[in-house]
Structure formats: structure tokens, C-alpha cells
């Protein structure tokens, strides 16, 4: 079952083609990783998928329920609402002056706002709003527990240590109830222990039924948890397959180690990139 299909996607900035005719498919219930050297176009591709850029040509389709939704045609805010695709950012973007719990409630804005009856019932404290808020708190508690932030729920998000901020951003994205979670370098800046617990968290998210798409430099994370890897170089897709296949792919090795390295085609990518 396909959850995300990207078809012939091209993104140009003036004369620069950052992503050139890339197509790939992400399976439901899989962790799909996009890797590639710096400047390969990973983040641009990511921004096209999550609606922050409009692709120059090509399409991005997400399938959930029995609908196929063209993400490239949705306005930015509807990607999370209708497309049910959530994302995190390479440079963490939390609401630093709001508490951890508030961050998680803001993420449930649409569901809560619908229960307030245009704000009027909410102000008067009537109707289904209380029930909706209780459900929102319950969901927030669930993700606080999973990301090990329960004790810090009332601290301002900006006061959390770096690793906790990363986890909070993932929890916040998960509170939008996505079918596909896109993570932009979730392991960047984490120490090995935090990185290992991130792996567990991502696997747990996958097992709860959300598919994942991630950009990552940390080959330890990528090779260990990905079900499927896509390799980009200079805006083009150069390889697509399971971790084992990618490890053995000559194009990938060339991209990471440089072209003249033909004499040792079996060199493991993991070491070259990490």
C-alpha cells in the first residue's frame, strides 16, 4: 500500500534546478529515508512535499482512507489538516515561550477550534468544548509519556535541553494525528544515547500506524531503522532500495566518496558518510 507518491517532481529557483525530475513511493507502515550529500536537494524535496514550496512541475500525492490527495495543490496550512502530513524542522521550531503542554495543544488547534462553535461556545464554556479539551489533554498526555516529557509538561519549551526539544517537536507533530510524519534530520545534534532512544521512538510511532519519511545524515539511524532508502545527488535520484541494497550500490558509493574511487566498489557507505 502506498502512502506517498512523488511523481516527476522538479523544483527550480530561477536558473538553479534543486530537485530534478524525482519520483519515488513511500509505503504505508514503512520508515522511508532520504539521504544524500550536502546540497543534494533533500530539504528542498522535503519542503515541496510538506507544502512550503510549490513544485515547478510534478505531483505529490498522499493516500489515506480511500482518498488520494494532491498535496501540491493544497494551501500550506491544509497539508496538515486535509493531507494529514506533519513535519518537523531541521532547526527546531518550537513555541519557545509557551509551555510543553501548550505546544501540544496548539498542535490540536483544528480539532479543538471545531468544537468551540466559532469561539462563542468556547468563551461561554458550553457545549462539546469541554469534552474536546479533555480528549486533547489525553492525547497530549499520551505523547508526553511516549517522549519522556511528562515531568516537564509545565516548563517553557525554550528551557528544555536540545534533545528534549527534538522529542517535543516530534510529539507536537504527532498531536496533529498525521498519517505521514516527515522528519528533517531528527538526529542532528543528538548524542549516541539520545540517538538510540530516538530510534525507539520512531519505531514506536511506526508501530502505532503512522508512516515516516525522514532526511538524515546519521547513517547509524538510517541504516538501523529504515525500511526503504532513497538517495539523492545533485537534485537527482541515484538509488532507491532497502538498506542492504543501498549499501552495495556503486552510484551511492561514488556520490559519497567521489568518482575516482572505482577500485574499491565494496566499501561500505555507512563508514564513508558517517
Amino acid at each position: 500500500m502506498t502512502i506517498l507518491s512523488v511523481n516527476d517532481l522538479t523544483m527550480r529557483f530561477g536558473g538553479l534546478t534543486a530537485v530534478n525530475n524525482v519520483s519515488f513511493i513511500a509505503e504505508r507502515g514503512h520508515i522511508t529515508a532520504i539521504i544524500g550529500p550536502n546540497g543534494a536537494g533533500k530539504t528542498t524535496l522535503f519542503n515541496c512535499i510538506t507544502g512550503f514550496y510549490k513544485p515547478s512541475t510534478g505531483s505529490v500525492t498522499v493516500a489515506h482512507g480511500d482518498k488520494a490527495i494532491r498535496l501540491d495543490r493544497l494551501p500550506g496550512h491544509a497539508i496538515a489538516k486535509k493531507g494529514r502530513v506533519a513535519r518537523t524542522f531541521q532547526n527546531i521550531r518550537l513555541f519557545a515561550g509557551m509551555t510543553v503542554l501548550e505546544n501540544l495543544l496548539v498542535a490540536q488547534h483544528n480539532r479543538l477550534q471545531a468544537a468551540t462553535g466559532f469561539g462563542v461556545l468556547g468563551i461561554l464554556g458550553l457545549g462539546g468544548y469541554r469534552a474536546a479539551e479533555r480528549a486533547a489533554m489525553e492525547r497530549a498526555r499520551h505523547w508526553l509519556t511516549l517522549t519522556d516529557l511528562y515531568e516537564r509538561a509545565d516548563d517553557p519549551a525554550g528551557a528544555l535541553p536540545y534533545g528534549a526539544q527534538r522529542r517535543l517537536e516530534i510529539a507536537r507533530a504527532m498531536c496533529t494525528d498525521p498519517v505521514l510524519l516527515c522528519l528533517d534530520e531528527p538526529a542532528a545534534g543528538l548524542n549516541p544515547r539520545e540517538s538510540a532512544s530516538l530510534n525507539d521512538l520512531l519505531l514506536k510511532i511506526r508501530d502505532e500506524g503512522t508512516s515516516l519519511l525522514l532526511i538524515e545524515h546519521d547513517m547509524g539511524v538510517v541504516m538501523k531503522i529504515s525500511d526503504h532508502i532513497i538517495v539523492l545527488d545533485h537534485g537527482k535520484k541515484i538509488a532507491d532500495g532497502t538498506p542492504a541494497e543501498i549499501r552495495a550500490d556503486a552510484h551511492v558509493i561514488a556520490a559519497y566518496l567521489g568518482e575516482g574511487d572505482e577500485d574499491d566498489p565494496d566499501a561500505p557507505v555507512a563508514e564513508g558518510a558517517a
Partner: protein, 424 residues
């Protein structure tokens, strides 16, 4: 020893700049010697006094900085704890103020003025403090509210109470109307465009003479009535004084106006406080913190900004309607940029986003100049100095902490260093 030297050097530099600044003001005196000639005399003594005082003041300030002790934790937390009683105490005082024996009518009048600015400050606080949209043209909505009531009452004979909601609705629609094209802008750019809108509204009012009366304004706007009872000084049946068998007195009308604006301001406050704990209010604050993250979470940024603009404008419209009925006369002169600037200063001085801060700042901004009337020309000097001192001592406004809207274990104030206040 080295510190003394550094201090002296610092103070000397400050004194030097004081010399440059005060030189032309205090060192020279322009007198009219005879009918045709002005003569310029030097007054070095005055200048020397000013520069010397500056030198000593700077030296004193530096010494204070070296030797001050941090406030003990026990005292600081006691102050923080007593903070929660400030708001209820102020509320009780505000409600009882006109009824206190021996309070002069002039003070109730001043109360009406301060309360009007409190309401405007609370209205603008939604836009600037919560949603983080820097609006320099808030006076536009104040004007729309005032002119809505002025025109509806003089042309269609509608009274204050019918026009109050209409003025709010009209101001809110103008908020949406103006908001649509400009809300894609951020920060400084938004500020400039809103500034322009404030001016456009005023210029349209000034120049559309056939509708608004132009610079002459609108006169004979009706005063509000209490369930049909007027506050006419003539007394007799149908008036407040006649109905209750009292002697007609201007104080009754002033007190009535005071309670109207108090009720309107408290309504603004209540709605804002409720909205802050609602998804909409949280989305505003999230928008202030990070717009891009909001979009990635499925929040419709444009609509959320528009609601902030519209609700802020609506309360501005209510305040404008009240302003028109209080004076019975409005003209474009009342809606100049300085009004927007005053209201914005109240919000910033109070600490963007803080409701209590707005009250304190309005008392300072409106109360001080009014109470210092007797000091005449030194009034604005002292006022300006007070503002400078406040901003040095409390750079993020009177109340710069943020209280969370929801908590699992225990609500803790969020310190100023993390809470993004106002336009980010």
C-alpha cells in the same frame, strides 16, 4: 583604583555629551534686545550647572550599580505572591471610585479618560500582545467606531445603546477589510502599512465633507440614557434625577459614563482572558512565537491573524462609540497618529500581552500628565523622564512574565527571557 578611574572616565564622557546636547539649549539665550534685532547672550553658569549635575548623577548611578545587592529571594517571592492581589484590589477600587465620599468630579472625569485608554490598550493588546502583529494604525478603528455612532445618530436618530454593537461590527468589518491585503506582511512592513491606513481613514474623514462634516466634525451627538432615563440638567420627569427624586447634578452623568466605560473595558478584558485559554487565543500566541511552525501544524495563519485584527478592531470601535457619546462632539483632530502611538506605548510599557500591565501603564501614561497640570511647562519633561526611567528599569514593560494558559502539574510563570513579547 582602576574602577574609580573607569567611572570618572565614563562620567566625563556622559558629561561631554550633556555639554553637546545642552549647549545650545541652556548655554545660549535668545532675547529681543530692541524692536529689530534679536540678541544672543551666553549663559555659561546655567550650562555648567547642568553638565556638572549630569556628571555627578552618572557617577552616582555607577556607584549604585557597583554596590547594589540582588533582592533577596524571600522578598522577591513575597512581591510576586502579592502580585495576584493587585488586580482584584484595582478592580474593587475602580468599581467604588465614583462613590467614594469627597472625590471631585474632575477625578471621575480623569477616571473615564484613563478607563478609555485601558480599554483601547486591552483591545490593541489582542493584536500586538497576543498575536504579535505590530499595528500602528489602531486609531483607525477608534475613529470608525466614533464616526459610525456620530453618523448613525445624527442621520437616523439612533441612540447610544443601539449604535454600540453596530459601531463594533462596523469597526470589525473594517478590520477584516484592511487586514486582508496587509496581513501577509510581517513586522516592520506591517507596521508601516497599518500606519498608512490610520492616516488614510483620518484623511478621508477630513476631506469627505458632505458626509462627515470635514474638519468641523459632528456635533450634537446624543448622550447615553439609562433605560430611557436621560441625564439632563433640567431635571423633571424622564430624567435620572427626576425619576429617583434627586437634585440634578453633573456628577451623576460623569459617574454614569464612568460605569459604562468600566463595563465595556471589563467586557474586553473578560473576552480576552477567556480567548487566551481557548484554541484561538493559543493559536494567536503560537503565531507570535513562530508563524512557520503554525502553518506546519495546520493552523490557517491568515484567518487566525484576521480574527485577531477583527476582534481588536471591534473593541476599538466600542471605545470610539463611547468617546463620541462622552464628548457629544467628534472631529478628525481626535484621531491623529499620536493616539495610536499612545495606545501602543501603553501596551508596550505595560508589557505586551499582560492585561494588568495595560492598566498600570494607562494610569502612568494618562494619569501622570493629567495630575501634573500644575507643573505647567515641566509636565512633559517629567513625563518623558519617567518613561525613559521605566524603560531602563523594566525594558520589557511592567509585567514581562507570561502565565501559561493550561497546566498538568502546576502553573509556573514563564520568564521574560523566553516569552516573546509583542512583534517578534
Amino acid at each position: 583604583m582602576r574602577r574609580v578611574q573607569a567611572d570618572l572616565h565614563d562620567a566625563a564622557m556622559v558629561a561631554f555629551f550633556a555639554l553637546l546636547i545642552f549647549g545650545p539649549f541652556l548655554g545660549l539665550r535668545l532675547g529681543d534686545g530692541d524692536a529689530n534685532n534679536l540678541d544672543l547672550t551666553g549663559t555659561p553658569a546655567r550650562l555648567a550647572w547642568a553638565v556638572g549635575l549630569t556628571f555627578l548623577a552618572r557617577l552616582g548611578m555607577l556607584q549604585w550599580q557597583h554596590f547594589r545587592r540582588p533582592v533577596p529571594v524571600r522578598v522577591a517571592s513575597a512581591v510576586a505572591r502579592s502580585g495576584r492581589y493587585v488586580a482584584p484590589a484595582l478592580l474593587v477600587f475602580a468599581v467604588a471610585m465614583p462613590l467614594l465620599p469627597g472625590i471631585a468630579n474632575a477625578y471621575v472625569d480623569l477616571g473615564v479618560l484613563i478607563m478609555t485608554y485601558v480599554m483601547l490598550g486591552w483591545g490593541l493588546n489582542i493584536v500586538v500582545g497576543l498575536a504579535g502583529l505590530l499595528d500602528l494604525g489602531y486609531v483607525a478603528f477608534y475613529a470608525v467606531g466614533a464616526y459610525s455612532f456620530g453618523l448613525l445618530s445624527t442621520n437616523f436618530g439612533l441612540g447610544f445603546w443601539e449604535c454600540l454593537p453596530l459601531a463594533g461590527i462596523l469597526a470589525a468589518s473594517w478590520g477584516v477589510f484592511l487586514g486582508f491585503p496587509v496581513l501577509r506582511l510581517r513586522g516592520d512592513y506591517l507596521a508601516i502599512v497599518t500606519l498608512a491606513f490610520g492616516e488614510i481613514i483620518r484623511l478621508v474623514i477630513t476631506n469627505w465633507v458632505s458626509l462627515t462634516g470635514g474638519p468641523n466634525g459632528i456635533t450634537e451627538i446624543p448622550h447615553p440614557s439609562l433605560f430611557g432615563l436621560t441625564f439632563s440638567m433640567a431635571g423633571g420627569p424622564g430624567t435620572f434625577a427626576g425619576f429617583f427624586g434627586l437634585d440634578p447634578h453633573p456628577e451623576q452623568r460623569t459617574a454614569f459614563l464612568y460605569y459604562i466605560i468600566l463595563a465595556l473595558a471589563l467586557l474586553t478584558n473578560w473576552v480576552t482572558l477567556r480567548l487566551r485559554k481557548q484554541p484561538l487565543g493559543r493559536a494567536w500566541e503560537a503565531l507570535r512565537e513562530d508563524e512557520i511552525a503554525c502553518r506546519s501544524l495546520g493552523i490557517n495563519v491568515r484567518n487566525t491573524k484576521l480574527t485577531a485584527f477583527a476582534i481588536g478592531a471591534m473593541f476599538g470601535g466600542f471605545a470610539g462609540c463611547f468617546f463620541a457619546t462622552r464628548d457629544g462632539f467628534i472631529s478628525p483632530d481626535s484621531f491623529t497618529f499620536i493616539e495610536s502611538a499612545t495606545v501602543l506605548a501603553i501596551v508596550v510599557l505595560g508589557g505586551s500581552g499582560s492585561q494588568l500591565g495595560v492598566v498600570l501603564a494607562a494610569c502612568v501614561m494618562i494619569g501622570i500628565p493629567a495630575l501634573l497640570q500644575s507643573l505647567q511647562i515641566y509636565r512633559m519633561l517629567i513625563f518623558g523622564l519617567a518613561l525613559v526611567v521605566i524603560m531602563i528599569v523594566r525594558p520589557r514593560g511592567f509585567i514581562s512574565t507570561r502565565r501559561p494558559t493550561v497546566w498538568l502539574h502546576k502553573a509556573r510563570e514563564i520568564g521574560a527571557e523566553l516569552a516573546t513579547h509583542g512583534p517578534g
